[in-house]
Structures are given as C-alpha cells and as structure tokens.
C-alpha cells in the first residue's frame, strides 16, 4: 500500500534575553547548578512574576518575520502539573490567546521548488528546570534525582506549524529555515546542543490520496537536524509496519534515542495530564500597541529570504549557493567578510561551503567557534585568485590558519614556501628539461589521437614538473606550456 506522510512541528525556541521571562535571574548557560535561580524562580511563597519586556519584543519580531498577525492582547495561563523541576507546580504559558497568530514560512527544496509551510501560532512561555537522573546517590546507594533550576524561567517561544510537511526533507528544511530566521533576528543563539532549539515532530500516515488524517504520534525533544531526520524516518517506518500488519496507531508521545535509532512510548493519550489551564491571575493581559509593533518592525534585521535575493544580485551567486549561505546569519556574515576581502565572491562562496563548512562539521563547531575569520579566508582567496598559490598550496595555508600557526596568510605562504613560480620563462625551461628526460612519454603523447587519453598523459607529466619546481610551479601555466610544446 502507498502512504501519504503528514508532519507537523512544534519548536521550542529559547529567547536570548539576558534575564528570565518573569524574574531578574541571568539566563546564561553553563553556570553551577542553581546559582541562577532566585526566590521567584524557586517559587518561594509570596513571590510574583514580573514580565520581561524584551521577551515580548522578541516574540513580536518573530511574528513579523514569519508574516504573522500579532495578538494585541495576549493572555498568560497556568498549565498545572507536578514535577520537581517545575517549582510552582504550573508552567506559565499561553493557550487561548497566544502573542503570535497565524503566519507562514517558505522553504526551498532540493528539487528547486519552494513550498509554503503555515504556522498555526507561536506562544510565549517559561522553560522548566532540569532533572538530572543517574548522577546522585544516597548513602545506601539508592538513585536520587538532582534538580537544577538555572534554566527554570528562561523565556521560550513555542512555534506550532500546521501539518503541512510530507517528508523528512521538508521538515528539516523548515527547521533549518526557522533556525536561520531566529538567529538572523538575534532572538535565539540557535545552539541546538545546548537546547536553544528543540523540536517535537507530529507524524501520521494516511492511505495515498485519502482526505482523512490518521492517528498521530508526537516524538519529543529532538535537538539536532540529523536526529530529527532519523527520528522521522524511524517513526514513519514504525507506523507503516504497524498499519501494513493491520494494526492501529496509538496516539502517544514518544521519545527517540538518536544514538541507538530507537524510540519508546513516553505516555499515551489516556495517560496524558489534565493540565487545568486557566488565566494566570498574577499577570495582567499583555497589551501590545502599534508603536511597540512599529518599533519591533523597524528593528528587524535582514532576514534569510531577503539576504538570499541580495546574494544572488550582489555576488552573482546561483540560487542554491545563495540559499545555503544566506540561511544562517553567521555563515552569511562570514561569507560576506570573505567575499569583500577576497574580491572574488564565487571563489569565497566555494571555500566557505567547501573546506570551511566541512571542517566545522568534522569538528562539530559552529561558525562562532571557528578559529579563522572571514577576513582571513578572504586573504587566502586573494592569493588563490592572483595565482600566488595553487589550490593545493591554499589547502596547506588553510590548515595552518585553522591550527593557529600564524594568522597572516602571506606570512604562512612565505614560511612554507608555497609561492608559485609563475615566471613563464623559468617554467618553460623546466618543461624543456623534463620533456628532454622523458622522450618515450613525449612520443606516446604525440601518437595518441584520443584527447581524453592525452589529457591523462599530461597529468602524468605534472608530477615530475612539480618535483622539478619543488612544488612551486604554477600548475595552470605548466599545463598551458606543456600543451603548446607537445602539440607544436
């Protein structure tokens, strides 16, 4: 049987405010447990929440960036459940009147097409603390749970999409697009390994062409694009197996273990809490006026779509390259620094997407952690473009920059003797000498009529030439001279 896959996403985006959504505690990541939790965060008796205006500004900016309506009077509600990392025994969140109403985002797909994914709404809420299991034991060796409330009260927006995606590629493209939007806005640091963005995926299957949605499951807390892609594939396959065996899908929340590619049920619909939402009486409805929205609109930076268009125009990049580089604000800024300094945008784009991105991925680093700057890469691009170094030499320079051996491109070229010899007279002399020492190869070349084979033979001559030039001969010029001399 053929199936249609229906995917909707819920994305928790941690807002990069300095302080928490309802208290003055710092939101910085990585502090000693419970050092960033004050009386309000600990839900001490009598303490009260005070809303952080910056969180509202960020939520409004997000709403404007995803073409959404802004709710002029949004309401905080209490979502009641007991858990030790939820100090008040309820989460302050929004339900009936979220701050961001319906909107949409357009995503680019590998087939060159674009697709619109609708956003149902986005609401503001506070994050819970963290429960640390398996790290603490009492004197009898019984497992205990540690509670770290540093994260409790960190502002989040939860973005809820319509079920508009039909495969993992679309879901990941949407997730990446959203990542690009929130990081470009500067409202989220986008660091998924620290939980700054967390994805819940709702998946259901229906017989191909059917109008009726199937029963869905929710896979929670995916914190990388890769895990998200794997989890979708895993869940689609699981549901398909069940349905094709004549079974039924249970509406449930599942947890995916990316390291093992396994998932397990967390709770079924029957086990779900009755959260007893009601408007929080400690907080007045949030009134947002035109002036506040206009101010947020005026403070919007360039967003990925606009940046992509500009890259195509300004740097003559193709659609694909422009989309990739413009999608992430920090990669885009890095590229622009490299392109401005390097004066060759195309070459800069190739290096940013090739060597540079590969290196970041291999070392699981973000652009911010890069040991080299866009300007340094630009310097390298200059020396490639003006033939000072070969591409092989350029890789060596890149390695030296990355390793921090030296931060000056020209100094590295000098120190490593990577400067190419581009003096044609000198190069011609070397060619003559090498050809003279290899008469058989010369004869073979001249008898060959297949240009492809000739080309390969030229390659065979490059080795001795590079050796003769101690690796410093300009390969491009060597090639030209060879062709001329052998053909003549």
């Amino acid at each position: 049987m053929q199936w249609d896959i229906v995917i909707g996403l819920e994305i928790h985006v941690q807002l990069a405010t300095r302080t928490k959504i309802f208290s003055g505690s710092s939101t910085a990541y990585g502090a000693e447990p419970n050092t960033q939790a004050n009386a309000v965060d600990l839900a001490m008796p009598g303490t009260l929440p005070v809303p952080n205006e910056q969180a509202f500004r960020y939520a409004v900016m997000f709403g404007l960036a995803v073409n959404a309506e802004i709710e002029r009077r949004s309401v905080f509600e209490r979502k009641n459940y007991f858990y030790p990392d939820l100090p008040k025994g309820y989460q302050t969140t929004q339900l009936e009147r979220p701050i961001v109403g319906p909107g949409y985002v357009d995503i680019d797909l590998a087939n060159g097409k674009s697709k619109r994914v609708r956003i149902h709404h986005a609401h503001l809420e506070e994050d819970a603390g963290k429960s640390l299991h398996d790290s603490f034991y009492d004197e009898l060796g019984h497992g205990m749970t540690g509670i770290d409330l540093n994260r409790a009260g960190t502002p989040l927006i939860e973005v809820v999409t319509e079920p508009d995606m039909t495969n993992a590629e679309e879901a990941v493209a949407f997730a990446k697009k959203l990542h690009g939007i929130v990081t470009s806005l500067g409202i989220c640091d986008g660091d998924m390994s620290q939980g700054s963005m967390r994805f819940d995926v709702n998946i259901s299957l229906k017989p191909k062409g059917s109008e009726t949605l199937g029963t869905r499951t929710e896979t929670k807390n995916l914190n990388s694009f890769r895990f998200m892609e794997q989890a979708i594939a895993h869940e689609v396959e699981r549901q398909m197996d069940i349905l094709e065996d004549g079974g039924t899908i249970v509406q449930e929340t599942r947890l995916y273990n990316g390291d093992r590619d396994e998932s397990r049920s967390m709770r079924t619909k029957e086990e779900a809490n009755d959260y007893r939402y009601f408007p929080c009486p400690d907080l007045l409805p949030v009134e947002i006026d035109d002036a506040f929205i206009d101010e947020a609109r005026n403070s919007l930076p360039e967003l990925p779509d606009a940046r992509k268009a500009r890259f195509m125009e300004q740097y003559s990049l193709n659609d694909y390259d422009a989309g990739l580089l413009a999608g992430d604000s920090r990669l885009a800024a890095f590229f622009e620094a490299a392109a401005e300094r390097g004066k060759d945008a195309k070459l800069a784009a190739n290096w940013v997407q090739g060597e540079f991105s590969a290196r970041l991925n291999a070392e699981e680093k973000s652009v911010d952690d890069s040991p080299i700057s866009g300007a340094q890469l630009g310097d390298l691009v200059v020396r490639i473009a003006d033939n000072t170094i070969s591409s092989a030499g350029a890789k060596k320079v890149f390695e030296a920059l990355w390793a921090g051996e030296n931060d000056n491109v020209d100094a590295i070229i000098d120190a490593k003797g990577l400067k190419q010899v581009s003096d044609t007279g000198e190069l011609e002399k070397m060619v003559d000498e090498v050809l003279a020492s290899m008469p058989d190869q010369v004869a073979q070349y001249q008898q060959e009529s297949d240009p492809k084979k000739q080309k390969k033979m030229l390659g065979g001559l490059m080795g001795p030439l590079m050796k003769a030039s101690k690796g410093q001969g300009n390969p491009k010029l060597f090639n030209e001279i060879l062709v001329r001399k052998l053909g003549g």
Partner: protein, 485 residues
C-alpha cells in the same frame, strides 16, 4: 500606654515622653502575659523588636522620624519577614524562614515601625474563624469575661483579637473574601480592605491571587489611614499593583460628610437578616444622616450569586497557588519518601489541614476538563456581572453600607464542622473582593455584649472617602473605644 492609638503613641514618642524601647518593652510584657489566653500570635520576635526600637529611637533623635518611627505593631503571619519564620498558619510552612521581605513588611521597616511578632490566622487564610491554624485557634477577647470562648473571625483573627485586646495598637491583615472586615466586626475594631492593586501582594503568601489584598486592622479609622499611608503604592515586583498616586489618607479625615450619598443595597437587608443586626446597622446609618448624609435604597441584582462564584474562583486559584508546596525545596517534607509520588502525596496529606485540602479539591475539580466551562468560566461571568452591579450603584451614590456579618462572634467549634454555614459568614463581604473595590468595617454597636460591624463600601480607589466617612462616624460614636474586659 497600651490603650493609646497609633496617632497618640506617635505624638508621645515625638514629644520624648517615652522612648520606643520603653514602649516596646511595655507592649512585649503585656503581650507575653495576655496572649496565653488568646493565642493571637504565632511568634513573638522580642529580640528583633527591641533592636528595631533602639534603632527607631536613634532615628528619631537624628530628626529622621516618620509617624511610625518606634511605634509597635504586628504582621499577620502571611507577610514574609526576612529571617523570621513565616508560617501562614500551616504545618506546611512551620519551619519556613523567608530570605526576603514582603513589600508591605519592607514598607513598615522603612517607616521605622517596630514589629512585635506574627499574628495567628486560618491556615493559608482559608477560613472565617481562625480555628484552622496549625498553631491552635485564637480566642476572641469579647465574651472571655463571661467564660465564653468565641471565635475572633478569620482569617485575620489573630490580628483582630490582638488589636481588640490592646496587645498591639494595629496589625496588618489580608482580605480575600472578608478576612479583614469580618474579624474587625467580630472583635470590635476597624478594618480596611483597599482596592485590589492598591497594596503590593509581593511577599504576601497567595491564597487567591485575583482577590487577595493586604490591609489594616486598627482601633480607629485614623490609625487605619496611617497604616494605609505606609502600605499603599505601586510596586514593580507586583504586576497587578496599580500605578496611581498615593494621597495622604489622614489629610481628608475631617472633611464634613454633608451631602454624602449613602446607598443601602436592598439585597443585603432583605429576607433573613437578623433583626437585632438590622437595628444596629440602621441606627449607625441614622448617625450618618445626622452628619448630613442622604440615604437611598439601591440594588445589587446579582448579590445572591457572589458566594457561589467566590467559592469557585478562590479555590480554583488556590489549587494552583498551593501546588508549590510539594516538599521539594522548602517547608514540610514527609519522612522517608519511597519515591516522588509518595513524597508529593504524603507531604501534602500531612502538611495541609482539612479546610485547605477541601479547597484544593474543589478548585481542582472546577478547573478540570469537562467542568471548566460550567464552573470556572460561569463564575467569571458572574464576577463581571457583580462588578457591573457595583459600577452601576456608584453612579447613584458615593458609598454603600451594610452589616459586615450576619451575626456577632459565634462560639468556637459551632461552625467548624459545617463548611457551608461557615462560608455564609462571608455573605456581605465576598462580592467586594470579586469586584475589587475597597471596603471597611467599623464598630457599630453590640448585640448581647458582642460587637457588630458596619460595612462601608466604596468605588475603586475611594479609600480616602471611606476613611473620612469612618472617621467622622467615630467622632460622634464611641463603639470603637469600647474595650473587652
């Protein structure tokens, strides 16, 4: 000295006739002796009080005195006091010492007042008799001489009994459905519940957040005005407090009442109002007519729905507000919990008393899926209707008057096993909290030797007018000066 008002004590201190240390010593001595019978205090903070009194004397000597500098008073044990146990009358918080002050606490500290201790209350302010305190019931000083143990009302029964017995000249209190006014009436003292948002709720342990309001219990309207001068004001730590100028509430106490338009809500005088009570209230109103006020009947058409709406909304909010008492971070935790669920269930089963549990259950039920619309939403609609009733009434009159309670102080134990009868104690008071408007209770006579109160209700932010009306009444009557034997 102990039967002087705050205003008088302030003058004595200013004239140098007595020091704050002397005054504090005198009050503490009396308090420790007399309170054995009343149990109106949960804790007496003698050392801190003497230190504060000493500091107050220095402050006054330095010429930096406020009217409160060196004047003794007490806090209801619902206001957090930095470094001093704050129990809210519950086993759950019997060991809780907050590392912060409530804004109200902080305000009195800044004003130089000397807090003698923390007064008893119904557990988590849930009750009308101060019988549900984990620290034992408080006894009303009225009736004691006849050998009767009557309730002081609640939940601020400790504050009211202490002021009535002249153990302190004034005490802070809170009012969610009548918890200042009903004890004021039953103890023969003056109580003021301000407009919702007038006094910061920060550090005041929450019962029902949309109804709770801190206020004053004192011997006179003048003293209540002095208290409100310290308590009122916008607080950035409480988003529901209101940014509005705070007048000097003592400045208008002596305005004449000529032309004051008094409305009598016919619903509050209808049906089964006790005739002795009606007589006391009507004679108080005649005093107002003598002072030049006019009286007319008005209607609050939805008055009969107030108790029902209140006992949905207040427990609903309480059910969430009290979720934080889970044994995880502070307060009571059961011994040797087996696992998380065991810790939650036993901590809360053992830490909360019966009335608190009852209200958590009611509130949880009212918010549950399938019942929310029928209970919580319906109650909120009723609340808006009640609010509108008052708004309409204040188009015609300046203040409303009614009895504060249906009857005088009842005997301990009489209603404690019948929650619904107990809830009816609030029949004249809860609507005011639902509307968020201010109201007072002033002593207005006696029935069988027990005090009764006149409730004066005003429009939003009309505290100055209420205090003025109460003060003028107290210039021509002496009910507020009667002392229990």
């Amino acid at each position: 000295m102990h039967n002087k008002s705050v205003a008088e004590l302030s003058r004595e201190l200013e004239s140098g006739k007595i020091s704050s240390v002397e005054l504090t010593r005198e009050y503490l001595g009396r308090l420790k002796k007399e309170d054995e019978q009343l149990n109106s205090f949960i804790s007496i903070t003698e050392e801190q009080a003497l230190a504060d009194a000493h500091a107050a004397d220095e402050q006054r000597a330095a010429g930096k005195a406020t009217p409160w500098t060196g004047v003794p008073f007490a806090h209801k044990d619902i206001f957090c006091t930095n470094g001093v146990a704050t129990t809210c009358g519950s086993k759950m918080l019997a060991n809780f010492v907050p590392p912060y002050d409530a804004t109200v606490t902080e305000n009195f500290r800044q004003a130089g007042a000397v807090c003698l201790g923390k007064t008893n209350m119904d557990e988590f302010a849930m009750g009308s008799s101060t019988e549900s305190s984990y620290f034992g019931a408080t006894t009303n000083p009225w009736g004691l001489s006849r050998g009767e143990k009557r309730v002081p009302g609640g939940s601020s029964g400790g504050s009211a009994a202490a002021v009535a017995a002249r153990l302190v000249p004034a005490a802070t209190a809170t009012d969610t459905g009548g918890s200042i006014r009903q004890p004021a009436a039953l103890c023969g003292v003056t109580g003021l519940k301000p407009t919702y948002g007038r006094v910061s709720r920060y550090g005041m342990i929450a019962f029902a957040s949309s109804l709770d309001q801190g206020g004053a219990l004192a011997r006179s309207a003048e003293d209540a005005a002095l208290m409100l001068n310290v308590m009122a004001g916008f607080d950035p730590k409480d988003s529901t407090s209101l940014e509005r100028e705070v007048p000097d509430y003592t400045a208008t106490l002596n305005e004449p009442l000529k032309g004051l338009r008094i409305g009598l809500p016919k619903e509050y005088f209808a049906g089964n109002l006790d005739s002795a009570m009606e007589q006391q209230v009507r004679s108080a109103i005649r005093e107002y007519e003598k002072l030049g006020a006019t009286v007319k009947e008005v209607s609050l058409p939805h008055a009969n729905l107030a108790i029902a709406a209140y006992y949905v909304i207040a427990p609903a909010e309480a059910s969430a507000n009290l979720s934080r008492f889970d044994g995880a971070r502070y307060g009571y935790r059961c011994d040797d919990p087996k696992d998380l669920m065991d810790m939650y269930t036993r901590t809360r089963a053992e830490g909360f008393g019966a009335e608190v549990k009852r209200r958590i259950l009611v509130g949880t039920y009212a918010l549950s899926a399938g019942y929310f619309d029928a209970y919580y939403l319906k109650a909120q609609k009723v609340r808006r209707l009640i609010q509108q009733d008052f708004i309409d009434a204040f188009k015609e009159v300046d203040v409303l008057m009614s009895p504060t309670t249906p009857s005088p102080a009842f005997v301990q134990g009489e209603k404690s096993n019948d929650p619904v009868t107990m809830y009816l104690e609030d029949v004249f008071t809860v609507a005011i909290n639902l509307a968020g408007i201010p109201a007072m209770s002033v002593p207005a006579g006696f029935i069988d030797g027990l005090p009764v109160g006149l409730q004066i209700i005003g429009d939003y932010f009309s505290e100055a007018r209420l205090l003025n009306a109460a003060h003028q009444f107290q210039q021509v009557t002496d009910w507020h000066q009667r002392e229990p034997q």
